[in-house]
């Protein structure tokens, strides 16, 4: 009886995901695998091999990979410091790191535009103290910058969570068995935090790979990522078929990256999350 009732509770979500996840996904596949007259074709998918599309995919992969690595390098020490703090202090610190997420994503990215512009806040300050200005806006650097800024909390939090859950007695046991601080980190802390690292990487890499807003605002529409190409096919060119075809290709890359991380997780961890 109770079981049946609990099952019905999932109905609203089932309807929701049917209407807004499964049906749109089927539509993407439908448009992606047909031409404008509705006939089956795979030319939309194959169009990824066009130089302009292929280049945008490579740039997107490269920039999101760089951003993910930098996010990881910044987040891990930060998460370690946070998890070793006593609970009173670290709540405040976490609040500070999460606080930007409470503001609108577009607004934050626009703010970076204002900061990084040639005549923007940073360059004005640099010139005032007689330093050469930076030409950073509308370059890949600005895009990487924007990605790191926006997605950093998504890397910090899962790593922080997994570090907090590590039993302090395990670290004591490692020291007891003769491991110094570095050995304890490499042999105990790091392997035990792999699940957090994996989910952090997924949560940064996937949105970074598909973003078009950050590249739009900070790349000045000069650097097209695959996300921008897809967006333009839908909005400017009204070519839903081509946009959907490229989306399927992008999905494929996301699935591949998730398989890679899952395999890596299995090797390093033995058990998943």
């Amino acid at each position: 009886m109770k079981n049946k009732f609990v099952k019905w509770l999932s109905l609203p979500y089932a309807l929701w995901s049917m209407a807004f996840v499964i049906i749109p996904l089927l539509m993407v596949f439908y448009f992606g695998l047909t031409d404008k007259s509705g006939k089956f074709t795979i030319s939309n998918i194959l169009s990824i091999s066009l130089p302009v599309h292929f280049k945008s995919l490579l740039i997107a992969l490269l920039l999101s990979l760089i951003s993910t690595i930098i996010c990881l390098l910044l987040s891990y020490p930060l998460a370690m410091i946070l998890s070793s703090m006593n609970s009173g202090n670290n709540r405040l610190m976490i609040l500070i790191f999460v606080l930007p997420m409470w503001m609108n994503f577009l607004l934050r990215t626009l703010a970076w535009q204002t900061l990084l512009e040639n005549e923007g806040v940073i360059n004005t300050i640099l010139r005032a103290i007689h330093l050469p200005g930076l030409k950073i806006i509308n370059t890949p650097y600005a895009i990487v910058f924007g990605m790191i800024y926006n997605f950093l909390p998504f890397m910090v939090l899962p790593i922080y969570n997994v570090l907090c859950k590590i039993d302090k007695n395990l670290l004591n046991a490692a020291r007891d068995l003769g491991a110094n601080e570095i050995q304890t980190f490499l042999k105990v802390t790091l392997p035990l935090s792999v699940p957090g690292i994996i989910s952090g990487i997924t949560m940064v890499f996937v949105p970074a790979l598909t973003t078009f807003v950050i590249s739009d605002l900070l790349g000045g529409s000069k650097i097209l990522l695959i996300g921008n190409v897809i967006e333009q096919e839908f909005t400017l060119n009204s070519n839903w078929n081509l946009g959907s075809g490229l989306s399927i290709v992008l999905m494929l890359f996301i699935v591949i990256s998730m398989i890679i991380t899952a395999v890596f997780d299995k090797d390093g961890e033995g058990s998943a999350l």
Partner: protein, 357 residues
């Protein structure tokens, strides 16, 4: 007697202005099975952590094998710990767990493999090399934790309530197992527990602690038969602790009745605590006893009956194989050598805390 292996000199430690250990002095001999026994918060675990190197004392020195190791980090100490919740590395299999310390010391592969085999045999878990810790029962995990510690050939094994999470039967089996291990390895065991039965079963020496002070150090027999104060008497086993007056040598007045005893040198008409173990209280016919009373409670415990007898305003706890029904009038008799006389605590520091049961 063998050498003093570890000496604690004037060790004090406090957390947030709360004193956990106060000027503690203790030495531990080679090949001794020492148990630190006391209620939670008595400082026993802190003492162990100071010896293990996980805490630094505020004052005092830890001397190990003639060398001051007070400031030596844990990973440089020649001792190993078995933690309360086992603390096995969940991302490694059993063999990797046991090999952890040896790999860090860069031992050869054949040496490590031999050691793993030897240790698993010692703890009766042969063939478990490739299992993961999660797939083992609590008792098995505890054995692995012991195996992981002893392959490093420590001079001292520290055990922090290692049997606390196990069920009763398993705990009793593990007690004999630990005694066997200690004898086979010939090393010093320092064992922390709040379980008096565990302490009595396994120890060569028991250190009874309360509120940061050592209450008594001695063999299990000494601690049980001749407790130095009411706290020790109450904590180790059941006992009747009665406020009494030492009239003169070998005569004590308990609840208004004079009893012959064997203790001397307390002075005349001095207030003392008298300890009488429940199995030492003899129930006889009312006219044959020193005091008469009435049975108020009775519980069957298997080996004996546990009875409460109200006599002269005191509820006597009595263990006897003979049953007296509730309401029966009985006489109470105690042999002189079963009456243990203790001085009242001299200062607040030694004030014994009653354990509510």
């Amino acid at each position: 007697m063998s050498n003093k292996l570890i000496t604690l000199e004037n060790i004090s430690k406090s957390y947030d202005n709360h004193l956990v250990l106060d000027e503690m002095n203790l030495y531990i001999r080679e090949n001794e099975f020492v148990t630190l026994l006391g209620p939670s918060g008595c400082g026993k675990t802190t003492t162990l952590r100071i010896i293990g190197g996980f805490e630094t004392p505020d004052t005092g020195r830890v001397v190990f094998d003639g060398k001051d190791i007070t400031k030596l980090p844990a990973y440089k100490r020649q001792l190993n710990t078995v933690f309360q919740k086992y603390a096995l590395f969940t991302h490694m299999n059993i063999a990797e767990n046991i090999a952890f310390g040896l790999k860090i010391k860069n031992k050869s592969k054949s040496y490590i493999d031999d050691k793993i085999k030897y240790a698993l045999k010692l703890v009766n878990l042969e063939g478990y090399e490739n299992r993961m810790p999660d797939s083992l029962s609590g008792g098995q995990q505890q054995r692995i934790a012991i195996a992981r510690a002893i392959v490093n050939e420590p001079k001292v094994l520290l055990l922090d309530e290692p049997l606390g999470a196990l069920d009763l039967k398993l705990r009793q089996d593990m007690q004999y197992e630990l005694i066997r291990l200690k004898n086979e390895l010939g090393i010093t065991f320092i064992y922390v527990t709040h379980d008096q039965e565990e302490a009595l079963t396994m120890s060569d020496t028991i250190v009874v602690m309360n509120q940061g002070y050592i209450q008594q150090i001695g063999t299990p027999e000494m601690i049980y038969n001749e407790p130095e104060n009411a706290f020790v008497a109450d904590f180790i086993g059941d006992s009747n602790i009665i406020d009494s007056i030492m009239v003169r040598d070998e005569l004590v007045e308990i609840l208004g009745v004079k009893f012959a005893c064997v203790d001397k040198g307390f002075g005349e008409n001095v207030h003392v605590d008298v300890v009488i173990r429940p199995e030492d209280v003899e129930l006889v016919k009312p006219e044959e006893g020193n005091i008469t009373g009435e049975v108020t409670h009775i519980i069957f415990k298997g080996v004996h009956y546990e009875m409460e007898v109200m006599a002269n305003g005191f509820e006597w706890l009595v263990h006897s194989t003979r049953m007296y029904p509730v309401g029966e009038k009985v006489g109470i008799k105690v042999d002189p050598f079963n009456i243990q006389i203790m001085n009242k605590p001299a200062s607040e520091d030694e004030e014994a805390v009653q354990i509510e049961e």
